[in-house]
């Protein structure tokens, strides 16, 4: 079915005319219909209102006097009008009081709720309400309903008439239009026919026939004119065409040559040359592109973009560049680009991109040349790294230099450097201060300019030795201070070497140790004093023990002496004197006296008794004197022992360990007895060792005294000290173990410290000195305590060669 646009002109004109005619009629009918409807409804409502008005008065008396029959009769009169559907009377309260409806409704009419005076169109009927008033008082409502059948009939008639008119008029219009359109269409159709003939036959000699001077006539003139011109052009064109063919042949040859150049370049260039369309898709490219992108077939690249081969970042940058070129027409020349290849290899290319223009000068894409400069770039990067590294090293050197400078200037040490000729080349500020000269007066000078000649000479000699031996020189030297006083400095000199390991000078540093030296001397002095004091204290302890023992023995001596004295005082020997005087008186009559006298006769018996008594006396005295001699002997021993220990130490002697332990016990024996301390001996070995007897006995006395004090302080009654001797292949151990106060854990670590004591009158030197002595004997003093109140055990360990024969002695 052809569209309206394609219909012949004649038909178009006819159709348009008929359509206009029909539409105009239709609009007229609709307007007229609407007007008629409105008017008719208005009339109808007015008629009904008048009807209601009449009835309103007629029904009032029936209503007030409740005469339903009268009302019904009145309403019945409405039956005369076939369009009245129903009517009713409502009382004041709206209750239906009397009603009527058309018989054909069969009583099915539903009366609406009473309303004030009003009219409504309700679907297929019109409701009219009217208030019933009597002497100014509203006493009820009258209602009447009319159907719209009359109106509908009228409408139907109108519609039929309109349709008929529309049909008739259209037909008439069709007839007229068909006849009249030819006035316009015929000349145009004739022109069109001529045109078609010109077109198909290419006969520009034809001419269209003109019918009049209207626009179509003008068109025909114009067309004919055009044909004249075309005829002329056609002839010229034929001539030009022959010329053109020749030029085309020439141009084609030129193009082939140019194309060949381009192809040759694309085929052989080591650089990446590529032409891309406006979407940056590859169109043409040099052969070198393929291996670079990991391709072998050119077809794989055509139409692809950078995004298909490179990382997103690079692809986006390239795309942005190309879009910019396309937009602005400005080339990008010599841009360095980073490429990350599909195999993650990083490459650098130097790229130039230009707009690609077609023959008309429009930008149809871009083309570019990328040169691989990865190797060059890597070399440059290496260079950069090296520069950075050098800079870093330089910074470090600077920092190190600053550090050194700070050290040199702030350390309390004088530092200087000299060259091989002994000239100063550097001096720190402290050195300057100590020689009381500014640096510029030091650099370039020698020691002879700064110190007395004999001192300078020594310095020069020391320097010479350092340079010759390359050995460090270190020493304490006397030094004249700037204020003229004498002091001591500690000096350190070293040879300065250059990078070729050649000596180029010396560097020295020295610092004032006068105070240090003085302090050291003082310490040494105090130490020796202390050792002396302690030795004396130790000897005093030994002496106290000895004297105590001596005192004990002297007691026995005293008792024995008194006994002997008493014995002698009461001796019967004096009775011998009495006998002698009796004999002297009776010298003359001695025989008579001895035989006659009563006393003389008793003398021989008495003498016998006396002889016995004297013998007994003598025996007693003998015993006492023997004991006395023994006691004196004992004292001698004690004194001798004290003398043996009081001798200067440092002499090694071979001694029996149990013997020396017993000696120590003996020195303290009195004190143990006084404090009723039980002593238990557990000698598991009896070794003989070569050692300083003096030091060992002092250590042991100290340990025993400490043990005794510890027992005393504990306040317990079963005070006990265990002495144990053990030996193995390397050492002898003398163990002194008490059950006294013990050592609290916090004191364990400082028990051997100098000055540490827990006793009220202790000087805190005993154990310290004992430990020192043990060390001097190449042994050790060990201590163990389980804690406060748990007793303590001290072990003196002394070196021992088990090859020595065990000392065999018994107590």
């Amino acid at each position: 079915m052809p569209t309206f646009r394609d219909l012949p002109l004649a038909r178009k004109l006819t159709a348009i005319t008929v359509l206009i005619c029909g539409v105009a009629l239709l609009v007229a009918f609709i307007v007229f219909g609407v007007y008629d409807r409105t008017t008719y409804r208005k009339e109808m409502t007015r008629d009904l209102a008048i009807l209601a008005d009449e009835f309103d008065d007629n029904v009032a008396p029936g209503l007030v006097f409740m005469d339903t029959a009268a009302l019904q009769k009145t309403l019945q009169t409405l039956a005369a009008n076939p369009h009245i559907l129903a009517a009713a009377v409502y009382d004041q309260a709206g209750v239906l009081y009397a009603s009527f409806q058309r018989p054909d409704l069969g009583g099915h009419f539903v009366f609406p709720v009473a309303d004030g005076t009003a009219q409504h169109f309700v679907s297929d009927r019109i409701d009219t309400f009217k208030d019933i008033e009597l002497q100014g008082e509203r006493i009820g409502s009258f209602y009447v309903a009319s159907d719209l059948i009359a109106y509908q009939l009228r409408l139907r008639r109108f519609a039929t008439m309109a349709a008929g008119l529309l049909g008739g008029c259209s037909l008439f219009a069709l007839f007229l239009a068909f006849r009249l359109q030819r006035v316009i269409s015929d000349p145009i159709v004739a022109l069109a026919t001529t045109t078609e003939r010109v077109a198909t036959q290419k006969d520009y000699g034809l001419r269209a026939v003109k019918h009049g001077n209207d626009e179509v006539g003008l068109l025909v003139d114009g067309f004919n004119n055009m044909l004249v011109q075309i005829q002329a052009r056609d002839r010229a064109l034929h001539a030009a065409n022959a010329n053109l063919e020749q030029r085309v042949l020439e141009r084609t040859a030129e193009l082939a040559e140019t194309s060949g150049l381009l192809e040759g370049m694309l085929e052989n260039s080591p650089d990446l040359i590529y032409f891309k369309d406006r979407q940056s898709g590859f169109k043409r490219f040099s052969k070198a592109c393929l291996p670079r992108l990991g391709l072998t077939d050119p077809a794989q690249l055509v139409g692809k973009t950078d995004a298909d081969f490179f990382d997103t970042e690079h692809a986006q940058l390239a795309l942005a560049d190309e879009q910019e070129i396309i937009r602005t027409g400005k080339p990008i020349i010599g841009k360095l680009e980073k490429e990350i290849h599909p195999d993650n290899r990083v490459g650098w290319v130097l790229t130039t991109k230009m707009p690609w223009r077609n023959g008309a000068g429009e930008i149809v894409g871009t083309f570019g040349i990328s040169k691989d400069v990865t190797a060059w770039k890597e070399a440059e990067a290496g260079l950069q790294t090296e520069i950075a590294e050098r800079r870093r090293v330089a910074d470090e050197l600077k920092a190190s230099d600053a550090f050194l400078h700070s050290l040199m200037e702030n350390l309390p040490v004088c530092i200087y450097r000299k060259d091989l000729d002994g000239r100063f080349v550097f001096a720190n500020s402290r050195f300057c201060a100590i020689v009381a000269r500014p640096p510029e007066e030091i650099v370039g000078r020698t020691d002879f300019d700064l110190s007395p000649p004999e001192v300078a000479r020594k310095y020069l000699d020391d320097d010479g030795r350092v340079i010759a031996t390359r050995q460090q020189f270190q020493g304490e030297e006397p030094h004249v201070r700037p204020d003229g006083t004498m002091g001591w400095v500690q000096t350190l000199k070293v040879a300065l070497l250059n990078s070729q390991d050649q000596v180029v000078g010396t560097q020295g540093m020295f610092w004032d140790v006068t105070e240090l030296k003085r302090a050291a001397n003082e310490v040494q002095r105090l130490n020796s004093e202390l050792i002396q004091v302690s030795r004396q204290a130790g000897m005093a302890e030994i002496a106290t023990g000895v004297l105590h023992n001596v005192g004990n023995v002297l007691n026995s001596v005293n008792v024995s002496a008194t006994l002997v004295a008493d014995q002698i005082r009461q001796t019967k020997a004096q009775n011998v004197g009495k006998l002698a005087s009796l004999f002297a008186q009776h010298k003359t009559d001695l025989a008579t006296f001895l035989t006659q006298d009563s006393r003389g006769r008793m003398i021989p018996g008495y003498l016998d008794t006396l002889a016995q008594d004297l013998a007994a006396e003598r025996a007693t005295l003998d015993v006492e004197l023997d004991g006395l001699k023994k006691n004196v002997e004992h004292i001698k021993e004690i004194v001798a022992m004290q003398q043996s220990y009081a001798r200067n130490s440092g002499v090694l002697e071979t001694i029996s360990v149990p013997d020396i332990v017993e000696d120590a016990v003996r020195i303290n024996a009195g004190s143990f007895a006084r404090h009723s301390v039980e002593l238990v001996r557990d000698y598991q070995a009896r070794p003989v060792i070569t050692t300083d007897k003096h030091k060992v006995i002092q250590i042991l006395i100290n340990l025993l005294r400490n043990a005794k004090y510890a027992c005393d302080e504990s306040g317990r009654t079963d005070k006990k000290i265990v002495l144990r001797i053990t030996a193995d292949s390397q050492a002898v151990r003398i163990v002194v173990s008490d059950n006294g106060v013990g050592i609290p854990e916090e004191n364990l670590s400082r028990i051997f410290n100098h000055g540490f004591t827990t006793r009220a009158h202790g000087h805190g030197f005993g154990l310290h000195n004992a430990a020192l002595s043990a060390k001097q004997l190449r042994g050790a003093l060990l201590m163990h305590s389980a804690g406060r109140g748990q007793g303590a055990t001290f072990t003196l360990e002394l070196p021992y060669q088990s090859t020595s024969p065990l000392h065999d002695s018994s107590n």
Binding site: P61, M66, D67, D91, Q92, V95, G136
Partner: protein, 174 residues
């Protein structure tokens, strides 16, 4: 009010005990409505002056009438209910209601009231046939009324044709 009437009529049918009272209500309403359909000579009723309803005795239906017309107007005339005893008082009323109990009294007064422009309404049987204008007639349970056009003409009171259509007309005597 008509709703009330309808209601009382319904009750009336069911309960004869209240029927007397219901009838009185209907009659009182009718009396009021008669006044609406009546027209007095201009000298009897000036514009705006009250319409006076007279009763010969107080109580009974009289109260009912008074209750019905209270606060009502007919064509801008207020309505007043008054008990009248002397002939002078009676002549001043526009509508005289004669209860059954007052029938004897009315019979005495009737001759003097014939041309005085008074609309007489009576309860007694044959009221309209014995000189009254409108008389109530009970027909079954329904209250109807008779009108004597002759008496109305004589009294000078015009009654609406619409009213006449609803009434039983008492034939003229002469």
């Amino acid at each position: 009010m008509f709703f009330l009437l309808l209601l009382t009529r319904a009750v009336q049918a069911a309960n004869p005990a209240v029927s007397a009272n219901a009838d009185q209500q209907v009659k009182a309403a009718f009396v009021y409505n008669f006044a609406k359909f009546a027209e007095w000579p201009a000298d009897r009723l000036q514009e705006g002056s009250p319409i006076v309803i007279g009763l010969l005795s107080a109580g009974g239906i009289g109260n009912q009438i008074a209750a019905t017309v209270r606060d009502r107007q007919i064509d801008h005339h207020p309505i007043v209910v008054r008990v009248v005893t002397t002939p002078v008082e009676i002549r001043a009323v526009h509508l005289l209601f004669v209860a059954n109990s007052d029938q004897a009294r009315f019979a005495e007064l009737a001759p003097g009231l014939r041309e005085t422009g008074i609309l007489t309404v009576g309860e007694a049987p044959d009221f309209a046939r014995t000189g009254g204008v409108i008389g109530f007639v009970l027909s079954g349970n329904k209250v109807n009324f008779e009108i004597s056009p002759e008496a109305a003409e004589r009294a000078g009171v015009k009654l609406s044709s619409q009213l006449l259509k609803l009434a039983t007309i008492v034939p003229r005597k002469g």
